[in-house]
Structure formats: C-alpha cells, structure tokens
C-alpha cells in the first residue's frame, strides 16, 4: 500500500475543475472568467437594446435552474449512495436491482428519459412540471452518481475495512465510520463534475415548460426575434455559473483533503 498516491477517479463531461497545482488550467480559468464577465458588462453597456433588456428578462430563470439543479443533485446523491452500496453488496438480489437500474438509465438518452418520466408520471398523478423535471433528472443522475460512489468506495484500501472489522465493528458501522468518511475525499471531485454537468443538462427541462434560463431566453427571443443576442447572453450566463462553481468545488475538495497533507 502506498501512502502517498491518492486515488483519483475521473468521471464526467463537466467543466474541468482546476487543481491548485495545475497552473495551465488555473490561468485558463482566469482568462475565461474575465472574458465572460467583461462581455456580460460590455455588451449591455455598448448596446443596451437588446442586451440590457435580455439581461433583465432572463434572471428569473436562473433561480429555477438552480432550484432544479440543487433538488435533483440532492436526490441523485441519495439514490447514488444507495445504488453504489447496492452495486457493492454481496446480496445478489440487491446487487442485481442496482446494476439493472444503472444499465437501463445509462442506455437511454437523458432527453428521452425526461419525456418518458414526464408523460409516464402524468398518467398516474398530476404533479407540477418542475417536480416532474426534478424526478427525471434525479433518476438519471442517480445512476451516474451510483457509479461514482461505487468507484469511490472501492478505492479505499481494504486494510481499512479489515482494521475496523478486527476492532469489532460490523460491516455497516465500518462503512459509516471508516470507509465513507474517506471515500468522500475521492468522490467529491467527480460529484462536483456531475453537479456542473447536471446544471447544464437542466437546460433540457425547458422543453417541459419549466421556466429555466433557456426557457426564459426562448420566450424573449420568440417575441423579439433577437435569437443571436439572446443565446449569446444565455451562453455567457451558463459559462459564468459553471466557472464559479468549478472554483467553489475545487476549494471544497482542498479543504476536505486536510488529513492527506503532511
């Protein structure tokens, strides 16, 4: 067992989270941030019509986007933890259920799942659009999160488990007191990536009549025909949010690794 190399698991298509050691990415982050903020200020100042109007119209959607993202990620993490534990379970039935869920979800495009759950749910019970959207996003991302948890838990040296068992802890206590607190360290970066990916994917819920950023933009563009200008602002807003989030997550990751530093 090597004590110095920390297992990194790379999952996802989210924005790259710059490590404090990675100078190239850190400077690219600054260039992107300054450019984005600069354009978000300069465009409305130089050409108030339509940019300033768009900027006043769209922010309602930011709140909705965050609502969907945060609710969906919370449920996805819960589902993911259960799925990850299920995939590692020695109980064959639980293992089968968890694996089946992951296989099914990974095999169907998110957009199709969104439509499917939205309309399937609509047949059973009448729920607000935003609830259907959250359920669909959490259901999909729970499977991806399950794989993140599974990888993170597997990455913890088996000696940790043996030491815990030999003290008299049972398997559940070992998971709760010894394995999961350490797995968090490995899991957080990919969870952060999934969070950012999920935030971007919430743009898909705009087709379910949920008034997120994109939906608000489309509403404005449909009235004013300023498609190019509207999508420019929307792209910049998404970019600004993901840039800030990636920085936040890398700071959290750094804090969580305190016991790995000499």
């Amino acid at each position: 067992m090597s004590k110095d190399d920390i297992t990194k698991i790379e999952v996802g298509d989210g924005a790259a989270i710059p490590s404090p050691d990675d100078k190239g990415l850190v400077s690219a982050w600054w260039v992107a941030l300054i450019g984005t903020v600069g354009m978000l200020i300069a465009l409305p100042v130089l050409k108030p019509d339509p940019y300033l109007t768009i900027l006043k119209f769209v922010p309602d959607g930011i709140v909705v986007t965050f609502e969907v993202t945060i609710l969906a990620i919370v449920f996805a993490i819960i589902i993911g933890l259960l799925t990850g534990l299920g995939r590692l379970s020695s109980n064959r039935f639980i293992n089968m259920i968890a694996s089946l869920y992951v296989e099914v979800v990974r095999g169907i495009p998110l957009l199709v799942q969104l439509f499917y759950i939205y309309f399937a749910l609509g047949r059973i019970v009448r729920v607000p659009d935003i609830v259907a959207a959250v359920i669909a996003m959490a259901f999909c991302y729970g499977a991806y999160m399950g794989e993140v948890f599974r990888a993170g838990i597997s990455s913890i040296d088996h000696g940790q488990t043996e030491a815990s068992l030999s003290l008299g802890f049972d398997k559940k206590q070992t998971m709760a007191y010894v394995v999961l607190p350490q797995a968090w360290r490995t899991i957080l970066p990919p969870v952060g990536n999934e969070f950012i990916a999920l935030l971007k994917d919430t743009s898909l819920v705009s087709i379910l009549a949920v008034a997120d950023i994109l939906r608000r933009g489309r509403e404005y563009a449909a009235e004013s025909f300023n498609y190019f200008e509207t999508y420019t602002i929307i792209a910049l807003i998404y970019l600004l949010i993901t840039l800030l989030l990636s920085k936040l997550i890398s700071a959290m990751e750094y804090r969580l690794s305190h016991y790995e530093r000499r």
């Binding site: 030491a163 815990s164 030999s166 003290l167 802890f169």
Partner: protein
C-alpha cells in the same frame, strides 16, 4: 507446559483458496498468557492461520474456539468475539481520516459506549506507553512507519483485548524502526498478554516466545520451545529454514 484450559483451540482446520490448499489439518492450543511465535517461509500459511483466529479468513473445515466461543457457529456474534482480539497488521491500517487520538477512541466510544473523556484518558495513557503521547493530534500520514505501527498497537489495546494477534508487524518497516515496535511488543509480553505473532524477527522469537510454531506448505511442521527450535530443530525442513535465514 501449561495445563490450564486453552484460550484458543484450533482443531484440524483446513482452508482452501480455490484449488490451493492453504491450511492443512492445522491444530494448535494456546493457553492464556502464552506467547506463540509463528515462523515459516512466505506462502507457508502462517498469516492465513493468524487471520482465521479473528475470522478475517473463514475456514472450510475444523473448529476454532476462542475464549469459549466457537467461531464456526453461525449463532456466535463474531463482532463481540473480535472485541476480545486485538489485531496488528503489516501495513498498520490506521484510519487515515482520524487523528491518532481518534484512532484510539473510535472503537471504545462507538462499541463500548464509553464517554469520550474517559476514552481520551485511556488513549493518552496508551500513547504514553508506546511513547507517542505528543503525537495525539497528528494524522497517521504525518507519522513514520514505526510510529504508525506503535499507534496501531495502542489502538488495538484500547479495546482491552484478552489476546493480541500480530501479522508481520515489522515487515513493512525500515530497519531502524523495527526496534521501537519490538520494544513495545516485548513490554506487552512481559505484562502477561496472550500473544500470537507471525514474524521473521528471530531475535524476538528467541527472547519472547513460549512456543515457536514452524509452518511450511500450509501445515505445522514443528512446535517447540525457542531453545529447542533454534538450537536443536527436529525436522529437516526446520533446519533448512533456519540455515537460510540465520
């Protein structure tokens, strides 16, 4: 030899890893207070034997009785039995996310429902004993290998076990750190702890062991007092082993 009731009774156990016959009809009685040192070439099954005693390895046949509890009985609470058995690993296996102090107090607080303040007192006393009281607030990664292993011994002792199992406790250490760990083990032996030690440290075996158990190819070849084993081994394989290492 002791005539008291053994605290560990291993009877005719067999263990397979797939087709590999890892333990062949092994039997061993250990009396309270005994110090048993298990020697043998790598792959001889000595670590596997040790790990069957706290059921980190299950056996395929035979019985193991620890302090009156039959490990092969599914009704027995293995977690309760493990609380009586301290284990020290080759790779230390300290909980990396916890400070030294918390490594020692986790099990007493969670399993014995001990007050944190009382657990801290006991932990600090044990850290004193292994000479690391000043490291209580450090994380394992901040300690040398020898220090980590001494903390690991203290962690096991914090549960006040009746028996201590050592699985090659010095094999992962730099030579200059072996002494500090062996010193702690010698002290423990002098205090009367029942110990089963798998090791390659012949000096320790000679000094501390009541009985040396020599294993080869999954079987116990010879069991003798250290004087007899080292000076006058009875079996050809024991002689060969001693020639190779001494």
């Amino acid at each position: 030899m002791n005539v008291v009731e053994p605290i560990i009774q291993i009877q005719n156990i067999n263990k397979y890893f797939g087709a590999f016959h890892a333990l062949k009809n092994v039997s061993l009685d250990i009396a309270p207070g005994d110090k048993i040192v298990v020697l043998g070439p790598s792959g001889s099954g000595k670590s596997t034997l040790l790990r069957t005693i706290n059921k980190l390895e299950t056996i395929d046949s035979g019985t193991i009785i620890v302090d009156g509890h039959d490990l092969t009985d599914p009704e027995e609470d293995i977690n309760a039995i493990r609380m009586e058995l301290g284990m020290v690993f080759q790779s230390f296996n300290l909980f990396r996310h916890l400070s030294v102090l918390d490594n020692l107090t986790l099990a007493p607080v969670k399993l014995k429902k001990m007050e944190k303040s009382q657990a801290n007192d006991i932990a600090l006393r044990l850290l004193d004993k292994v000479g690391l009281r000043d490291r209580a607030g450090h994380y394992p990664i901040q300690l040398s290998g020898g220090q980590q292993q001494r903390v690991a011994i203290a962690r096991a002792l914090a549960m006040e076990p009746k028996i201590m199992l050592f699985d090659e406790p010095t094999s992962a250490l730099d030579p200059e750190m072996i002494g500090e760990v062996l010193d702690v083990m010698v002290t423990l032996a002098k205090e009367g702890m029942t110990m089963v030690v798998v090791t390659h440290e012949m000096g320790f075996a000679r000094e501390v062991a009541d009985q040396v158990v020599f294993m080869d190819q999954g079987a116990i070849v010879e069991q003798a007092s250290p004087d007899v084993f080292f000076d006058n081994p009875q079996h050809q394989r024991s002689k060969l082993f001693l020639q190779q290492i001494l």
